[in-house]
Amino acid sequence: MELFQYPYMQRALIGALVIGLAAPALGIYLVQRRLTLIGDGIGHVALTGVGAGLLLNRSPVLVAVIVATVGAIAIEVVRARGRTSGDLALALLFYGGIAGGVLLVGLSDATSANLNAYLFGSLLSTSTTDLITVGVLGAAILITMIVLRPALFAISHDEEYARVSGLPVRTLNLLIAVTTAVTVTIAMRAVGVLLISALMVVPVATAQQITRGFRSTMTAAMALGLFAAGAGVWVAATADTPPGASVVLLAIASFLVVAVAGAAWRAVRRRTAPATVPVPEPHEVVLDRG
């Protein structure tokens, strides 16, 4: 525990906790819309921003926010068009993003250790300025996701109905895309661009095994994200492991524990409760009797 008396460790921990709360609050909408891998793709694009920042001697986080946001908007425009070529366009963007990032980092004076820190997170790299950026943007993401929950739930659940309700569907979709980009970039320091997507998705997957509603899933996922981020940083500091990997493995371990415990509980309940006969549904399609 004495490790956490060092200011850099405190900064790393606070940054990770903010991200642990914010990432699942956004991720639940991505899971509901079957866009669970989008965070990963935007992470790839953000890496180009990191490379550009290092090369230009500007704040890599800030440049990455801008580049990732532009990339996210491009992805959303392709997605909204619903073209079959969209899949390929996304692949081009993702691979272009990571290749561009590696190339630009290579051109700059940064070492490969620097690149690793952005890819998989690092405890040592969170400066006070970074922490302020993470805190302000993380709070903005949290507030947006919670205040707009009814509307974002509606468009994630049934986009056509949301449109007929007169909701600004296109604007809200862009908002989710931009928020994803911002979340990815602020999580870069603690978890790394290649692993942040897991922190958006895995706590939601864990929570939805035991919850009954959308709001309870969101709350439980945020609690799980907070736990994984906090415990992950603690493990990384005490065992000297990469923080991103520690956070993500803890999140996946929680998933497995809940999955096994949930299955066991259901099995026990089935054995003790009287068997309920499911009411048969009428057939929707009956072959012509003629």
């Binding site: 639940i28 899971v31 509901q32 819309r33 079957r34 669970t36 205040v147 707009l148 009814p150 509307a151 739930f153 509606a154 994630s156 659940h157 049934d158 056509e160 109905y161 949301a162 449109r163 007929v164 309700s165 007169g166 909701l167 600004p168 809200l172 939601v204 939805q208 919850t211 009954r212 509603g213 959308f214 709001r215 899933t217 009411v279 549904e281 009428p282 057939h283 929707e284 399609v285 009956v286 072959l287 012509d288 009797r289 003629g290």
Partner: protein, 253 residues
């Protein structure tokens, strides 16, 4: 009672160059309860999707509450009931959460729900007989109960016009009765209804007019036609494949 609610004039819709609706004209006035009937693939669902602005009109014009569709913004006046609830990504949602979405058109994106919103959601849940399932995940409900959830969502917005896409397809008898009751109450309060149906069942007494769509055009607009042939049998369990080239029969006279 002749305020126009929906007016379609010479509407045409095509998907990828293939015409689905051609030269369709239809008018629904306040208090009407209109059933759009027709075989699968006749274009009846496309007609209501065009009226809602979900598919673009190739030609002609659509007016909602005296406003061209493009300029129409008063979506709280319309309650839409789609054919079924999308599966989504599997995040659970309670019946109440889904029904509460119906208040958004009235409340807007930023205002948090208030007492009036909660009361309207409660009333909508009661009217379809799902008040006791409010806290259950929708995924655990039967198909008919899910359909009732969608109707409650539309009713929660307290609309003047209900537009329903095959609300009773594949729905158990109890849900059909619950639905017919909710619709009767809505009509008794002065509501207007446009619904697409394959067969009317317990809804028949509520319907004031039938529009029959056949091969992308309207071939009947008036009294509800009597079922004919084996459709008339009391135990007729419908939904067999209809082709676009179905021989002239029930809906084409």
């Amino acid at each position: 009672m002749s305020t126009p609610v929906i007016t379609v004039e010479h509407g045409a819709v095509g998907y990828d160059g293939r015409p689905v609706l051609r030269d369709v004209s239809l008018s629904v006035t306040a208090g009407d309860v209109v059933a759009v009937l027709g075989a699968n693939g006749s274009g009846k669902s496309t007609l209501i999707r065009a009226i809602l602005g979900l598919v673009p009109l190739g030609a002609g014009s659509i007016t909602l509450f005296d406003r061209p569709l493009r300029q129409f913004r008063q979506w709280q006046r319309i309650g839409y009931v789609p054919q079924r609830l999308g599966a989504g990504g599997g995040v659970p949602a309670t019946v109440r959460e889904v029904v509460a979405s119906g208040r958004l058109a009235r409340r807007g994106v930023l205002r948090p729900p208030g007492a009036a919103d909660r009361a309207a959601v409660d009333a909508a849940l009661r009217s379809v007989g799902l008040a006791d399932r409010a806290g259950d995940p929708v995924a655990t409900l039967s198909g008919g109960q899910q359909q009732r959830t969608l109707i409650a969502r539309a009713l929660a917005g307290q609309p003047e016009l209900l537009i329903l896409d095959e609300p009773t397809a594949g729905v158990d008898a109890a849900s059909q009765e619950a639905f017919a009751g909710a619709l009767r109450d809505f009509v008794a309060d002065g509501g207007t209804v446009l619904l697409v149906a394959h067969e009317l069942g317990p809804l028949r007494p509520v319907i004031t007019r039938a529009v029959v769509v056949h091969q992308g055009g309207i071939c009947h607009d008036g009294a509800v036609p009597d079922p004919a042939g084996h459709h008339a049998e009391p135990d007729h369990d419908h939904v067999h494949p209809h082709g676009p080239d179905e021989p002239a029969g029930l809906w084409s006279n």
